[in-house]
Subunit: 118 residues, 4 copies
């Protein structure tokens, strides 16, 4: 199930009650999402067999900061996700089952050709 409105309100109230909205700039929240994503990844650092409780907590942290960022930027989750899915569906058309089906791997790798990392 998606997040209930009362849960969204609870997340907002948590920050407001502690006077933390002042720290929730978009740039700080982008850092926070990356930091929490690192902690989620840590559950899988040496093995795919992660601690389920720990995973739940870390994934929830990422989601909460995403929600904070939506609020800080005045964005609608449903709207930006659908806009991105429009792009994804155009970029990765469903392959017809005739001949060699490109995998996500090769699709992704072709993608890289356009990128020279710095």
């Amino acid at each position: 199930m998606s997040m209930k409105q009362e849960t969204i309100d609870r997340i907002r109230k948590f920050s407001t009650d502690r006077n933390w909205d002042q720290f929730h700039t978009p740039a700080n929240l982008a850092k926070s999402i990356a930091i929490e994503a690192g902690e989620l990844l840590e559950c899988y650092q040496w093995s795919d067999d992660a601690n389920p409780e720990h995973v739940k907590q870390e994934l929830a942290d990422v989601i909460v900061y995403c929600r904070n960022m939506l609020d800080a930027l005045g964005l609608d989750e449903d709207e930006i996700v659908n806009a991105k899915m429009d792009q994804n569906e155009e970029k990765y058309p469903v392959k017809k089952p005739t001949g060699a089906t490109k995998s996500i791997l090769s699709s992704k790798r072709e993608d890289k050709l356009c990128r020279t990392a710095m």
Copy 2:
């Protein structure tokens, strides 16, 4: 607004139609969230003044992979977020406005004392 059920279904159908569910192991999705979080952070790499369109796309990517991970693990977004908010509220009680109010900075820094990084 939170994600509509039809948007959740759209995300699922996108993966299923491309036969990509096989790649969506929890460990791969944890990596994917971290990778997309890095791309979101890139919007703020040298300046807090990010391109709004780019931010929307990258934040949506993080959210979509979080949704994929909830599905891969059979988790309920609302439930894990509320469980984490229970912890957060206990860990960071609302300060009474008497005397020195600890900021998020000092709260976070005290937190660190318990961690020796490796």
Copy 3:
């Protein structure tokens, strides 16, 4: 100063003595670098005024895992860095001081045009 050979040897011996080389696959080390990079970033999560001791420890962690990854892949640090600097110098030529000098910001932003994130 760059890392001394005896420091490189110390890092190797640390893993070997604990029988940890078996965990040091390139993929696990890529995760480890991202995790430690997240912890380094955490020093700057809410403020640019980070704890210097903490920064040193986290930066060292990133560097140690980079060294582990060089070893795991049999790569020479000096060689791969120079190969990348060749690319960087070609990609970002030094601007002549005539007319509008493009900043790193605009250089980087032009770069993005070629990327549609997923």
Copy 4:
């Protein structure tokens, strides 16, 4: 082999020649390391079988930004790495081969007990 002094000088000259040192604040470089670590991780997103050339480039990017950060903070790589190795060796003593040998997994997991993520 470790980085040669001339390579360190080359990295410094690259930034200076482009007037980019002004962007190389410690906080921006911490973000940059996390961003590049995400790109390195992307090489292993869906498979452990990464493109070797791409890995070299991304790992070099992480290393170059670590070098930039050492410079920005006036730190000596060899010194901070040895200080961290002192801590690591104390924190993870070599196990005597008598009885149950704790793996890196269990060592790391015990570590987590002290951390409640937010």
